[in-house]
Symmetry: C2
Subunit: 139 residues, 2 copies
């Protein structure tokens, strides 16, 4: 079976608050929006931010909290990590861990989005990322 | 800033139980494993299943539950949706919603993995998926 993730859908309480974090914080552009969901075209998959009540109704369970998972966004340079964490904080995020050198190399920190979904912001020279943002497990 | 997700990391309580769901259920092959994490090369990003305590220590918060989010896996044919939900159930998953026609077309259902992370299994003719599994927001 194809090793494939089509979409990551995050439940959000306030679509506009979430939009500000992703559009003004990360600087990303939506590819679609209506009054309950915003889609972003990512590197070969879609990111969706959907009103949490609608997502929970769709997946037939809830209510849930932010959860035991993290999404990773890689930046091109080591010196990009901490400024992006701070920038995201200024657009409604909350820094969980400032930029730190992990044992396997590189530099990373964590920020929670306004709905408490965790994002790891990382510079990882061991992973190959093509110009479209597609990641190949390294080295 | 590049619209990019490098990795989706799921916290898991039991690495072997999780491996069985992803390797035997989905039929996916790991690209790396050690005694606390398994990585899968996906369509331009990595899926990681990491012992939840280690993930929570890394992101400096916890404990968390499964969370208000869902991952989507798209299948090529309408008739693949329900059998995959049932197959995943037989490898430690739990069906949240059987295959149903959503208002926007296609067919989808939800299954929770052994750690309660939700996967939507979908057939969606409106989204273009290339042979590498890369998805472009349609139509």
């Amino acid at each position: 079976m194809q090793q494939q993730i089509s979409i990551v859908t995050l439940g959000v309480a306030d679509l506009e608050r979430s939009r500000r974090f992703y559009v003004e914080g990360f600087g990303w552009s939506p590819v679609f929006r209506n009054d309950e969901i915003i889609f972003y075209q990512m590197n070969g998959l879609i990111l969706g931010t959907w009103l949490q009540a609608a997502l929970e109704q769709d997946m037939r369970r809830g209510p849930q909290r932010a959860g035991a998972f993290a999404l990773g966004h890689n930046v091109p340079r080591r010196e990009d990590v901490q400024p992006l964490l701070q920038r995201l904080e200024s657009f409604g995020g909350r820094i969980l861990k400032n930029a730190t050198e992990p044992p396997h190399g590189g530099l990373s920190g964590y920020v929670a989005d306004p709905d408490d979904h965790a994002w790891e912001i990382a510079w990882n020279p061991a992973w190959k990322i093509d110009p479209q943002g597609h990641v190949t497990f390294g080295p």
